[in-house]
């Protein structure tokens, strides 16, 4: 009997039977049933807002279901708290990072279970030594006494994964663990998942990167509007991506995944960066600083920026945008030297930035969509006396709502209530309303589902066609390849290579991204 058959015939470790969840009127889950067996990886897929995280939160004891039954290991399972779920051997990596930023890496890994020394007191030494081994497993090499707040999003994600892996578990729930990771780390995670699978651990895995899902999942359950849209089985070979998309959105996949044509843009150089350096932060000495970046961005082109985690892409974007202090170097816009000392300056000059961390850097969670939309162009939607011209503002939003097909209930709706993809579109609309000359987008589709992702790509292409110079930072190589007219790669705060989008392949980019300084010089 093959392992696959053995798994298929073994009793399920977890079975969800007819689970429904209501949130004051919204039905997030409706009669959802699925099963996970020991030693298998079940992919849970679906568009933004399909209910994936809700289901996982129910399983991990964050919230109870409105109705339905869950059986774990043959017994009724109704966890009262995350603590309770842990006791059952269910460990969760949440979509929103659940690390404590003020504590060290070691403490986060051992939260609530710090190793104790002779007097029953916490042994910091033991904790840090053990942590070093645990994070090494995911390929992370940082001092465990570093506060988490000084790590990049990707590093935090890895710490969180490492922590989950260090817990005794029978079922690991992973809600978009790879959204902040680049190819290399993803590969590492995949091999760890594979090992766990062989050890008989069950895994539930959520991702919007369908290539990943297709590569690793034994089976998939696809959710649509809170219902099970179908189950897919590996059947010896990877599950086909078009099939997944069809189940997710309910229509044929081809139209969604059209790769935009790339052009060799001959426009004038709009933004030019020379010898850009940033200041080192002594409190986070391992943070990347720019070590002299030269870059040109032409009007009407989409410049993809690829690089591994910590290669300095975000730093480049922030430096150009005036969000971080610059140590040396020049920036010219349309031939004129500029020195934005703050984002406000940069914006006045016609530069826009869609930041990588939507929740902390872009969204005003408690405010309505309208306010979120117009916040960067209050001047445009107000009269000379400083009063808001709300009608114009609403009309403008209505226009973008249509153009970007933003799905929302009303302009007053709190933006928190939108799916990630729609939030991202509102942020894009925020910048479009300013009609920027240069638009920098940092991880524009992180956590965004395939459908919305394709829409965002379309929007970027259309903007470029209107003459806007776009710089797109992305950790997803397929995305970089799909939309970039030209691609540069970065490593350790330097540009290591450049090529036209048409010529680029994942392999070539990976090679450039791994280049070190010396090789770059010889190049």
């Amino acid at each position: 009997m093959s392992t696959a058959e053995a798994i298929a015939s073994s009793p399920p470790l977890l079975s969800v039977e007819g689970v429904t969840k209501h949130f004051s009127g919204v039905t997030a889950l409706s009669d959802v049933s699925l099963e996970v067996r020991p030693g298998e990886i079940l992919g849970l897929l679906g568009e933004n807002g399909a209910g994936k995280s809700t289901l996982l939160k129910i399983l991990s004891g964050v919230m109870p279901p409105s109705s339905g039954r869950i059986v774990f290991d043959g017994a009724d399972y109704a966890p009262s708290s995350p603590q309770d779920a842990k006791r059952h051997g269910i460990v969760t990596i949440y979509q929103e990072l659940s690390l404590i930023p003020t504590l060290t890496v070691a403490e986060n890994i051992f939260i609530g279970r710090a190793p104790l020394g002779p007097l029953g007191l916490v042994s910091w030494r033991g904790m840090e030594d053990a942590s070093r081994a645990i994070i090494a497993r995911v390929g992370l090499d940082i001092d465990p006494s570093t506060p988490v707040s000084s790590l990049s999003v990707a590093e935090q994600q890895l710490v969180e994964i490492a922590r989950a892996l260090s817990l005794e578990s029978r079922l690991i729930i992973m809600d978009e663990p790879t959204s902040a990771l680049t190819e290399t780390e993803v590969q590492k995670l995949m091999s760890i998942m594979d090992r766990l699978r062989k050890d008989g651990v069950a895994i539930m895995f959520v991702t919007h990167r369908l290539e990943e899902a297709s590569a690793i999942c034994d089976r998939m359950t696809v959710l649509r509007d809170g219902r099970v849209a179908g189950h897919l089985d590996r059947d010896g070979q990877p599950i086909q991506i078009p099939k997944i998309i069809e189940k997710m959105v309910g229509r044929a996949a081809s139209e969604l995944y059209a790769r935009p044509t790339q052009r060799d843009v001959a426009g004038a150089v709009r933004l030019s960066v020379r010898g850009l350096r940033t200041v080192r932060d002594p409190l986070a000495p391992h943070a990347i600083v720019l070590e002299g970046v030269d870059l040109d961005l032409k009007a009407g082109e989409i410049l993809g920026v690829a690089g591994l985690v910590g290669s300095g892409r975000t730093e480049l974007a922030r430096a150009i945008f005036g969000a971080d202090r610059i140590a040396a170097g020049t920036i010219t816009l349309d031939g004129k030297p500029i020195a934005p000392a703050s984002p406000a300056d940069a914006i006045k000059l016609g530069i826009g930035l869609v930041p990588e961390d939507r929740k902390h850097q872009a969204i005003f969670a408690a405010l309505g969509i309208l306010n979120n939309f117009s916040i960067a162009s209050l001047g445009r939607y107000s009269n000379g006396a400083g009063f808001m011209a709300e009608r114009r503002e609403r009309e403008a939003l209505a226009g973008y709502r249509k153009a970007l097909s933003i799905r929302m209930a009303s302009p007053e709706q709190a933006i928190e209530g939108l799916s990630g993809g729609n939030q991202q579109k509102v942020i894009l609309a925020r910048w479009l309303a300013r009609d920027p000359k240069v638009l920098i987008v940092d991880e524009p589709t992180r956590g965004v589902d395939v459908g919305a992702k394709a829409e965002v790509h379309q929007i970027l292409v259309q903007l470029a066609a209107r003459g806007i110079a776009i710089m797109m930072i992305s950790s997803e190589l397929p995305e970089v390849l799909a939309v970039s007219d030209r691609i540069v790669t970065m490593r350790r705060g330097r540009i290591t290579g450049e090529m036209p989008g048409i010529e680029a392949t994942e392999e070539k980019l990976m090679e450039l991204m791994a280049l070190d300084r010396k090789q770059e010089v010889t190049q």
């Binding site: 933004n48 969000a323 703050s342 969670a365 960067a376 400083g386 808001m388 709706q413």
Partner: protein
């Protein structure tokens, strides 16, 4: 991603919003009914206008405090600043600190009510600006800066007046504290006008939008091109301005500026704002709520005094009702939410 958020049952949300904003208001209405039942003369216009006049002082400051708290800040110095501005107004109105005694309304050698008013609000706004500057440039948290301010302004006030009051203003100045327009006390009218203006600023101007945005997410606001520091400084200028205005009205009303004025006002004022539903974490709140909050405290104090409840019991009851009012509001909101 389609329909779930689509039909975000508009009706539900609207009823929710309504109830939410009415939480403190319902509480206020219930209190008024109770006090009226206990002693029907409670709703005599005289008493209601008394209450209006009484809440107008802390109410004015609470309007400014609403701006501050909307940015997730806090200002503990308002009570001391009120005393300081009042003393400044008195010095200007009377032309010096020497003439501290005469209660006669004539014979003052000062510069008149307008100069006094101007001095009070300018000094208040400046003092607020200095604190805002310390908060944004020295990066000292608002709690600490204004706690320092609380001590410093009190010391300055006592130094100016050497501990004593400065009393006896002319009739034109006193009108702002004791006058009536029709049956309505002037302080109440000043408060009402200020509240309406603040409401308009917060609700209908780009500046107001920026205040909410800074409070909602300062980092996102900065990355959206708002001059966060300037906005933060401005809200402390505003609360300082209102402390100055309140000081002027209070001095006019008492016919005296006292060095010990405003002690403990910071807590009353913050209570009014918070009871009114403004979040101490910033980004959520409204002027309407603050007015209701101030009224609730005013009605409670007046009503208990009206019934000659012992001062010890008053303390206990006020403390409990403060907690209950906010708990009730939270409960309503959570009911509506899930």
């Amino acid at each position: 991603m389609t329909s779930t958020t689509e039909q975000t049952e508009r009706s539900g949300i609207n009823i929710a919003r309504l109830l939410m904003s009415f939480g403190p208001l319902m509480f206020l209405a219930v209190l008024i009914v109770i006090f009226t039942v206990l002693k029907p003369s409670f709703i005599d216009p005289i008493n209601l206008f008394n209450i209006l006049r009484q809440i107008s002082i802390t109410g004015l400051i609470a309007l400014g405090m609403t701006f501050v708290i909307l940015t997730a800040g806090i200002d503990l110095s308002v009570g001391s600043l009120l005393a300081f501005c009042g003393m400044v107004a008195a010095v200007v109105a009377k032309g010096g600190t020497a003439n501290t005694l005469s209660l006669s309304t004539s014979g003052t050698q000062g510069y008149g009510w307008f100069a006094a008013l101007l001095a009070a609000v300018v000094v208040g706004a400046l003092a607020g600006g200095v604190q805002g500057f310390a908060i944004t440039r020295l990066k000292v948290p608002p709690f600490v800066v204004t706690l320092g301010g609380l001590t410093v302004f009190r010391g300055l006030t006592l130094t100016i007046s050497n501990g004593g009051p400065i009393s006896g203003f002319d009739a034109s100045m006193r009108w702002f504290g004791t006058g009536l327009i029709g049956p309505v006390p002037v302080p109440a009218i000043i408060f009402a006008i200020a509240a309406i203006l603040c409401h308009i600023v917060l609700r209908y101007t780009r500046y107001g939008r920026a205040v909410y945005a800074v409070g909602g997410n300062a980092e996102a606001a900065r990355l959206s091109g708002l001059r966060v520091d300037r906005i933060l400084i401005s809200v402390y200028v505003i609360v300082g301005f209102f402390a100055g205005l309140a000081a002027f009205v209070l001095s006019a009303r008492l016919n005296s500026s006292e060095a010990v004025a405003g002690i403990g006002y910071e807590l009353t004022v913050i209570s009014a704002v918070v009871i009114g539903g403004t979040s101490l974490f910033g980004g959520i709140g409204s002027v309407g709520g603050t007015v209701v909050g101030a009224a609730l405290i005013g009605v409670l104090q007046n009503g208990l005094q009206f019934n000659n409840v012992s001062s010890y019991t008053q303390s206990i009851v006020i403390g409990l009702i403060l907690i209950l009012a906010v708990a009730f509001d939270r409960w309503l909101k959570s009911r509506v939410r899930r």
